[in-house]
Symmetry: none
Subunit: 212 residues, 4 copies
DNA sequence: GATGAATGAGTCTTCATTCAT
DNA sequence: GATGAATGAAGACTCATTCAT
């Protein structure tokens, strides 16, 4: 994966532009249907720079995935370290996870579509990140069991995966419904925010009862 | 989508061969990286027949998805109609869903990667099927609330999506782990069946508590 | 290297057209400056067929080289087997070699430019062929030494290489001079044939004395 | 072609570094597959300086060829002027020619691959140099005929070309064999020097007899 | 003098689809 | 019904060259 070298701000800015453009284009039609031509068009740069900053189209996608999931993990770890209780930590992590997806549905869709794909250049990198993300969740669930807020019968390993699956799937579902409503003119654009609040309430309630 | 014509058994067999070959190839490298050349090679037929049985490459994929999800829905409806209680129905549906994925991980991976993609030829068809699948789940959850086995606080709409997300994600995760263990030689091939049993116990326990 | 399958005459004809077009284009500007676009344009076929019949641009070049040098070797072997004496065989081989180059200067130029290049896809194949060609020459020189027509002091290995180098270099030189004269209008087009005769006389005289 | 400006030693050193790097890279993969990026990387300078010292990539190659062949011609002329007899001169020139190639096989390979190529930027320059080189050889052969050491039947024009072809081809062949032996561990690195001595003996013997 | 980011035309290659046999 | 040769549009990637800093 292309490394960012702190050389110039200009170069970094170009790199960022390409990454942003790529994510938006990829989420629009998927990685395979995304052309480098389109990415550089959206980024407003020439095709050559794309290959000056990244080794390949796959390298761009890998950077997006790694930086994106890496950011989520970083926040998970910060949240976990700061939370007064495991329950608190889990709630905060789910909120933070959902917030990232809500704010960047493009990234969420890309992530889901790639999470189980095999044979991609980034498959290995992604699996490592996934494991790290699950590990943070697992450790908080186990902490909750030690603290007594989560019943012993829960399988930490299972719940970690289940939470990721629920949040990802349900968030994308809710986003699609909200987008549909806005598109149909049945709801104002702020419906998005309301959907997010309602969704967060549901999932926290669900996990709370499952753990009790 | 190409209709199956009951004409000959030969034709049906060829059609089935193509569909199976396509699914296996698609799950290996994704729809976009799958070539018609490769499909017919795996199916052991000439390229001409593929276009005799299907209108296009997308048509093949659509058939796989529609027939696959359609089968799941059909079973859901049968199970729901036969179940003595909502709780019973939900458990049976989750079991049946997971069983399909366990038995055909290729299909599961393809489904997940396409579920949220927009702009595909089959996107609309898939969304309709998804809605039908969710509707069956929702109706059983609501029945459970009427029967008193599911607490009123549960949002049926949310739980339906959450269950689909959990089952899909967790099943694929467990399958990958089992595959990894078998690959590494750390476990015998029957580890698959044991994994499935353990997984089913976890998810039923989890949903049971979340609903109680 | 793409294998020719005797399936259809049509397909074989297309393959041959591509090979001929490729040789003519390659000899015009060299392999690297030859585009597949230009080859198919000259061949009068679509770009797709080129890749249906050959694996790559390099594959086309390899076929030209292998078939071309292979043809020379075949003729060498026939000539060597039929010649009443080693001297006779050597003369006939030099004539046959020079004739191929005179008749197809394009091929000669391509061969010389690739003979010493390393790291090409066809480098290994070419080296094997070169060794076979040298072996035929060597065996006739050694036969001449046994027959007493070639002095013992001659190093067969060296002379084989020397003959190839002389014939190749001198032939191309003479061709260029003849082309130049025709281009300048200083000589009629038949100058080519006269040049070939004069050249053959010189080289045979030279080798004859060197061996005596 | 870029002129060397006696300005600074620094500039000259950079120029030389670029030329050496270019020759080594070109001989490795050919002119067309050589990138300016790779040249400056090997030379250890930035891309800007390359274009400060040379007008273009072709300019670099032209300089290598012109300076290389020019050096050979210069030495030929010095040798020819100093030699007591034509035979002496020819021997010395062949030795000097072979020595250059032995010491710089990269240059030899580049020269051979470009000698017959048409349409290159340096094609004309190269042809002029070739003609000058052949002229020196021819004049010594004719001198030998006047001195009586070379039989009248020899065609000076032909022998000049033949010698160039033989030396170039045979030298490169011997170098490759020596490199192969060293690579295979079948011979020590000094095998190179021995090969050169044996080769020189063979070619001088061959030409001597051809001329007698 | 020196740097390296940026350009964009040009190449090879792929592949869904068609159709003559 | 079946085959496989042919099509051509489209896409990833390269690289000589320029130029602002």
């Amino acid at each position: 994966m292309a490394q960012q070298r702190g050389k110039t701000n200009k170069a970094d800015a170009t790199r960022r532009q390409l990454l942003d453009a790529a994510l938006s284009v990829i989420s629009e039609r998927g990685y395979a249907d995304t052309t480098v031509d389109r990415i550089v068009e959206v980024a407003g740069v020439s095709k050559g720079v794309a290959y000056y900053h990244f080794a390949s189209k796959a390298d761009i996608a890998t950077c997006i995935l790694v930086e994106g999931v890496g950011g989520i993990i970083d926040e998970f770890e910060v949240v976990a370290a700061a939370a007064p209780s495991a329950t608190n930590a889990l709630v905060a992590m789910m909120e933070s996870f959902a917030a990232v997806i809500f704010r960047n549905a493009d990234f969420g869709r890309f992530l889901v579509s790639e999470l189980w794909r095999r044979g991609r250049e980034w498959s290995d990198a992604l699996r490592v990140l996934e494991e790290r993300l699950l590990a943070v969740l697992r450790s908080q669930i186990e902490r909750g069991q030690r603290e007594g807020s989560i019943r012993a019968g829960v399988d930490a390993s299972f719940e970690a995966v289940a939470i990721v699956g629920m949040v990802l799937t349900a968030t994308l579902h809710y986003i699609r419904e909200a987008e549909q409503r806005i598109e149909d003119g049945c709801a104002p654009a702020r419906a998005h925010a309301e959907t997010e609040r309602a969704f967060l309430f549901h999932i926290q309630d669900y996990v709370h009862h499952a753990n009790a």
